[in-house]
Amino acid sequence: MSDSDISAIARDAGLKQVGARPPLGSYLAETWRRRAFAMSLARYRLEASLHESRLGLGWIVLRPLLNAAIYGTVFGLIMDRSSRPGDIPFIPFLVVGVFVFEFFSKSFGSGAKAITGNAGLVRSLTFPRLLLPLSQIIQFIIELVPMLIVMAIIVAAFGVPITWTWLLVIPLMGLMTMFNFGVALIAARLTVHLRDVAQIIPLVTRLFFYGSGIFYSLDLVLADNPAWMLTVAHLNPVGGFIGLTRLFVLGGPEVSTLLWVATLVSPFVTMAFGVVFFWRAEEKYGRD
């Protein structure tokens, strides 16, 4: 019996090929049908982290707070006052930057481990792998709630008036979630192909950290440099999300039109590209 005869038996019996990547539409539909899995995984991971250390969930807020305290002490003293807008109190300026950046860096770092860190699940069960990065993002959305509340309390405690524009942070975080999801998907696939990527992630994160103006205003720092540098800085959506959050919560500083456009368009582009990029390697996850 030759090989083609065997395939003919399969075709006659109406069998389907195993392991073939489904079309994007049915892949996304299957992901949606299994959404309960991603939600439960996110919730259980959070609950597990509650028991892992004494302060449990407290660390979600404490880590960025301590980060802000260190940056505030070190750079608040070292950096020149002219590097930040004079009309905005420094601590709220810094806290907004650190907290919003934390949402990005967590998504990027954990997204990269979404497949490689869940090898047990990937090797034993077949389900759309998109659910793994998705459950990570769901977990971070849940964690974002206490972070935003603490951020609001700190900002208000430093005398920033509470206004209606604060509510705009919610749709803005929705857009940032889409952007982060796209970044997580891209990082997840790259790490599977090339483990070396995992080593570069902290470096890229740091690059974004300094390129997003966490404790200084890029507009002021780059004022004396060639104009293209500021243009590049305004094209960075992470800096954009931070800039817009500051605008909505602190009432300033003003942001350029380019930054507005880049920040509002990038979530859609990044997420669409991320989903397609991730899906195209679906059959390769868990091969090694």
């Binding site: 395939s7 019996a13 195993v18 392991g19 299994r34 309960a36 034993s124 069960l125």
Partner: protein
């Protein structure tokens, strides 16, 4: 070497799994140097080494068959199971199946720092059950595993036998047309093994196809109607359990 004899005795149903010329290669970055080779780290060979795990395997499995898969360690049995389950794709050849095969393996740790209870929920959801269906079957799954008193403990505190019992119980909670069991029975105690073998026979009776990888020839002979012998990535023999097992055991001496 015989591929399935079409005139084989017994009433067999339609094909459920068809494997056509399957080759699987693993790429590794191991340079494969001998230990005495004392070159420095900087001149490390960058060559990718290719391991041929399966070298062209073909067979047809039908409804109501329970197929034992035997072979020495590293012969490619588990690779074959993972390829049939769709967890890895071959470099050549194709696997066809009537429905999504479910694989049950020993190395399949679910999420170690979650409790048994939550792993049951997640496992059920990952198998495609709805939250409601998992809740309905929860008591049955736990009762089958016999681990009622340990369900609120993290799975990492379980012994390997307990872990595989729980995984097996989750996997068989759903009716599978095609079930692949990779050594999952070897770790359980005698009583659980008996219960599992009964369940496998029951699944097979429901017009399903069961593949069983095992090093226990007794287990293979008691549950299987056909045996595949995989040797160094080749399908060496395919046929009646007693004949294949005898030939396999003769080859080891």
């Amino acid at each position: 070497m015989a591929v399935t004899d079409p005139a084989s005795p017994g009433v067999l149903g339609d094909p459920t799994v068809v494997v056509d010329g399957l080759r699987v290669d693993y790429k590794t970055f191991a340079s494969g140097k001998r230990a005495k080779d004392r070159r420095s780290l900087m001149t490390r060979q960058r060559g990718v080494r290719i391991v041929h795990a399966l070298k062209g395997v073909s067979f047809v499995a039908r409804e109501g068959e329970s197929i034992g898969v035997i072979g020495h360690n590293g012969s490619g049995k588990s690779t074959l199971m993972r390829a049939i389950a769709g967890l890895l794709t071959g470099s050549e050849g194709t696997v066809y199946a009537a429905s999504r095969p479910a694989l049950l393996g020993v190395n399949a740790a679910l999420i170690p720092n979650l409790t048994g209870e939550k792993n049951v929920m997640l496992g059920g959801l990952a198998l495609g059950l709805t939250p409601k269906e998992v809740a309905q079957r929860y008591d049955d799954i736990v009762a089958f595993s016999g681990l009622e008193e340990f369900m609120d403990l993290p799975m990492k505190t379980y012994s390997s036998g307990m872990q595989s019992r729980l995984r097996f119980s989750i996997a068989v909670s759903r009716d599978h047309q095609i079930l692949l069991v990779d050594e999952a029975l070897a770790v359980g105690d005698k009583e659980f093994r008996k219960k599992s073998e009964d369940r496998i026979r029951q699944l097979r009776g429901e017009a399903g196809t069961v593949f069983l990888v095992s090093h226990s020839m007794r287990s293979i002979l008691e549950t299987c109607s056909r045996v595949l012998w995989i040797d160094h990535g080749n399908l060496k023999m395919d046929g009646d359990p007693q004949e294949v097992v005898d030939a396999y055991q003769a080859s080891k001496n």
